[in-house]
Symmetry: C3
Subunit: 211 residues, 3 copies
Amino acid sequence: MDLPVDSLLYVIGLGAVATMAAAGVLEAGRKPFDLFGMVVVALAASLGGGSLRDVLLDRPVFWVADQTYLIAALIAALLTFFLARLFILPVRLFLIPDAAGLALFTISGTKLALLSGAPWLVASFMGVITGVVGGILRDVLCNEEPLVFQGPLYATAAWLGALAFLGLAAWGIDANHAAIAAGIGIFVLRLIAIRWDIGLPRFRARPTRDT
Amino acid sequence: MDLPVDSLLYVIGLGAVATMAAAGVLEAGRKPFDLFGMVVVALAASLGGGSLRDVLLDRPVFWVADQTYLIAALIAALLTFFLARLFILPVRLFLIPDAAGLALFTISGTKLALLSGAPWLVASFMGVITGVVGGILRDVLCNEEPLVFQGPLYATAAWLGALAFLGLAAWGIDANHAAIAAGIGIFVLRLIAIRWDIGLPRFRARPTRDT
Amino acid sequence: MDLPVDSLLYVIGLGAVATMAAAGVLEAGRKPFDLFGMVVVALAASLGGGSLRDVLLDRPVFWVADQTYLIAALIAALLTFFLARLFILPVRLFLIPDAAGLALFTISGTKLALLSGAPWLVASFMGVITGVVGGILRDVLCNEEPLVFQGPLYATAAWLGALAFLGLAAWGIDANHAAIAAGIGIFVLRLIAIRWDIGLPRFRARPTRDT
């Protein structure tokens, strides 16, 4: 068991994709969609953010170059579909792996954007896009208002973590250490936000509508 | 009348684009959209799947490189718009050309992905994306739950056909023959599924929601 | 104060991005979204059209290459968010800068597409995409039927202007003069359409639905 760090990160990445796919099936399960609809929603939720990042950065799309990600998402979606017909799977079950996936997606997205030569603010947004766009696509396909626009800190945790990663690295900290510290920060902040229901301010604006 | 096969396929491809555009106008016509809204929905329905495929594979987008596709979609959308103000056009009218378009889009998408060096599972999904994403975009723009997630076999027929095409070609069958056989398979399977209302399993999941 | 024309256009471009972002926040404010949700809707509204154009043309995405656009959109979104909590901001306030932004986005999108070698009809649609897709994305994210599919002339004004620009340039008029004339045409046509509520024909189609 002498896995190098890169292999470990790869496995964690596959796990994050699988988690997002499973959570996508549970969301889609509240609609009268069939198995195919579930699978599409699961693929959009798990591969959508990274795909948009790669297209915007003009890199090869990650799951087109390496179909292991696609297979992981498919297996997770099918397993969840059949398990959910047998048992009641609470969405809560996925909150902790989802927070881990958010942290991993965000930091890896930020790093990839930096390597592609993106300026720092753009790089931090590429991290957020990687972590968050899948969930937005999932809700758009389900014809719902996106959940990540409403609940406890999600994208905000991701963005703060991406900025922390960039700050630490610019400050001279080793990039791997900075990535681990910032990733743990996202994970913990997200769990704290869920536990104590910490969200961003909102308003019901009252602009007059003259269409 | 000595058309080579490639010209024939090109004409069929234009016909498939036109059919999807016409069906898009009929769908959008159930909303209070104006002529421009119809045209956008029609273009998204007819060109969206191939565009996403080309962007994901980092190929030149097909209708940007050859505007004949754009012209075919526009003419079909405008014609349908004005005909539908005069006559009642039943959606049923489009089911058979739509099934033909699905078959053609799927097989050509799979082939293009293979030529771009995509691995086989990715290639089969590129076929499905080419055939199905237009219809999903159409329904998202109309603020409806996507129809292809619900009705009789549609994407499933496309995916089985794409896999059959890949299997036959890997087995040593001539690629053109494999394409024709698999395309006919998609077409027939789709029509059978409509006729006898064959769909995929679904479930109303009962996950507790703790947002 | 001896700004060259290019710098002037750049500043107008930033102003157009900021206007679209501000209008995005006001639209999103009618939903129970938090600050992050507003920011995402604002970014999609202000950067979405140009991003899709760049991806379809396989150019570097404009705000990834130059993050000034991203900063302008962010500042405008945050300012609008906090101002709208203090004052009632009527959407009407944004109609005139929005019309200016539409004109600028459309003509610059058409020009960029021509420079990328797109054929003329595609180039005119790239102009419309640059000007209009942001507003469509905004409404899809808010789970609403797109406004630009319904109101007074919007995309139509953009398309006529793009065609006028292409026609004038093909006729031998200097490209800069053609751009200015066509841009003013879009701006004025849009304001006239709002003032006298001029729209495109629409129909409530009555196709029978046999799903």
